[in-house]
Amino acid sequence: MLTVEDVQLSFGGVKALSGVSVEAAKGRITAVIGPNGAGKTSLFNVISGFYKPQSGRVVLDGEDITRLKPHARAYRGMSRTFQNIALFSGMTVLDNVKLGAHTRLTGGVLSSGLRLPSSRREEAELDAEIRRDVLGMLELDRVQNSHVEDLPYGLQKRVELARALVMRPKILLLDEPVAGMNREEKREMGRFVTDVRDRLNTTVLLIEHDMGMVMGISDHIVVLSFGKPIASGTPERIRQDPDVIKAYLGGAEDAADDKAA
């Protein structure tokens, strides 16, 4: 589905990524983990198009998208959430989520501006679909008319996930989806991400810090350290990989939860 092939990225003399390859298999949850400064965010920005790598490729569904701009990637089915809340305040949950459908609306600049029947019908259908599929699944239906800034943090993150899903992405990128969450919110978010995979069959690539979350929900894990991939495999394999334990877990497995907090 999405592959990152041998990407090199440097800023001046600093190598942020060297020889990084990741494959996110269709309908699976793939996680990229690593300590702070390992290059997770750089990799995420290469995939979403905000950084251009010096060499290597990003391929989505067989198409080389390495040089495409972020908005063009959205049109090819790439959607994402942000590490920090990036919702539009002053707008309701439903309106925020609807913004995610920008790439799907066909109404042109004029017809939607003039509120022609065709674009109004399109919008009504979209509202119904959002309520039925996305808000229902993410248990946001009860707050759909609240202003986003009035919601607790965990719910705001869920609204972001909803907005990303409305795009009907082929690949969903999650940038530290549980950063700053409490234990309960983390568990809920983990459940929603696996729901997205199981019920919508969406391919998910997530960057995460929190080992508990990653081990619990991922099908495949890639570990980065100092901009290089040091291991990849199933959660069980990663848990036992001596390099990973040395680089990231600091030798003790229960350190994971402390790190997460």
């Binding site: 979403s48 198009g49 905000f50 701009k69 972020p70 908005h71 063009a72 959205a74 049109y75 959607s79 994402r80 942000f82 990036a86 539009f88 913004l99 995610g100 920008h102 790439t103 609306l105 109404g107 042109g108 600049v109 004029l110 939607s112 501006g113 509120r115 907005r163 795009m167």
Partner: protein, 293 residues
């Protein structure tokens, strides 16, 4: 004719001139909203548009309608060239550097217009009828009333368009957060270029209207500086604010001119703008976090 009658009559005339202010202000606000660029060349863009209209309508004798279309097209092309060549490479640079670029563009336009068309007044074909408009027994100069009616209609149409169209949604999203907007498929550069097109349209129409009410000279653009007060009062990033603020400033100018004398006309808007900046820097309708100039 008593004093009250005069007051009302001046008020109506003032409010009418506020309509054109709103039109000019709208062009400045949309660009500010999309790219945090304060376009000091707006007045010169207006003025050049009026010269384009003159050239198309008179020199090439295309007539008023075709002349207006030609002026609009010319203004749009020019605005897109300015955006692409001078402003886009400045994206992400300090605010003051970008402001200086727009100042420079303004000076260049003024100089070039002087070279091509000369410094003298030109008479553009009258598109506004002179016959005065009577509201009750209040007497409004015909050109001012008609210019205001046209300006207000266009401002309202643009406000509604920017409120409900997808382009308007894209503009608001890009204004709030460019990275998120891009991730949702919104091409932020295109949004910025789009706002320059809007500014070209409002500039062209207001330029031709102003040249009709007054005459056409290379100094026509100075009026855009009066609009600064409108923008500060309305809020730099508030599209709806321009209309209310335009009307308030227009009214204030006329009324202070009547009561305190014409020399006060020029300074009152700036005194009000200064007060607004001290008391409520975001203006009446602007959102928080906008940069002051």
């Amino acid at each position: 004719m008593n004093a009250f009658h005069f007051f009302i009559e001046y008020s109506i005339v003032g409010i009418a001139s506020g309509g054109v202010y709103a039109l000019i202000a709208l062009g400045i606000v949309v660009i500010f909203k999309s790219s945090q660029t304060f376009n000091f060349a707006m007045g010169e863009m207006m003025m050049l548009s009026a010269y384009l209209f003159y050239t198309a309508a008179v020199t090439f004798s295309l007539g008023i309608l075709a002349g207006m279309v030609a002026a609009l097209l010319g203004s749009i092309v020019l605005a897109l060239v300015i955006e692409r060549v001078a402003l886009r490479p400045m994206m992400g640079r300090p605010f003051i550097a970008i402001v200086m670029v727009t100042f420079g563009i303004g000076s260049i336009i003024r100089g070039v217009v002087g070279m091509i068309w000369g410094p003298n007044d030109l008479q553009i074909p009258a598109i506004l009828a002179r016959t005065p408009v009577l509201i009750g027994d209040f007497f409004i100069p015909g050109k001012t009333a008609r210019a205001a009616a046209i300006a207000v209609c266009i401002v309202l149409a643009l406000i509604l368009y920017l409120r409900y169209s997808r382009a308007g949604v894209a503009l608001r999203a890009a204004a709030a957060d460019t990275i998120t907007a891009a991730s949702m498929g919104i091409d932020v550069r295109r949004v910025v270029a789009f706002t320059w097109v809007i500014a070209a349209i409002t500039g062209c129409i207001s330029g031709v209207l102003m040249a009709n009410v007054n005459t056409l000279t290379p100094h026509l653009g100075v009026v855009a500086l009066n609009v600064l007060a409108v923008i500060i009062l309305g809020g730099m990033n508030s599209i709806g604010g321009v209309l209310v603020a335009g009307v308030i400033i227009g009214w204030l100018e006329a009324v202070t001119g009547l009561i305190l004398g014409t020399e006060f006309r020029e300074i009152t808007p700036y005194i009000l703008a200064l007060l607004v900046l001290l008391v409520r820097p975001t203006g009446l309708f602007g959102s928080r976090g906008i940069e002051r100039i």
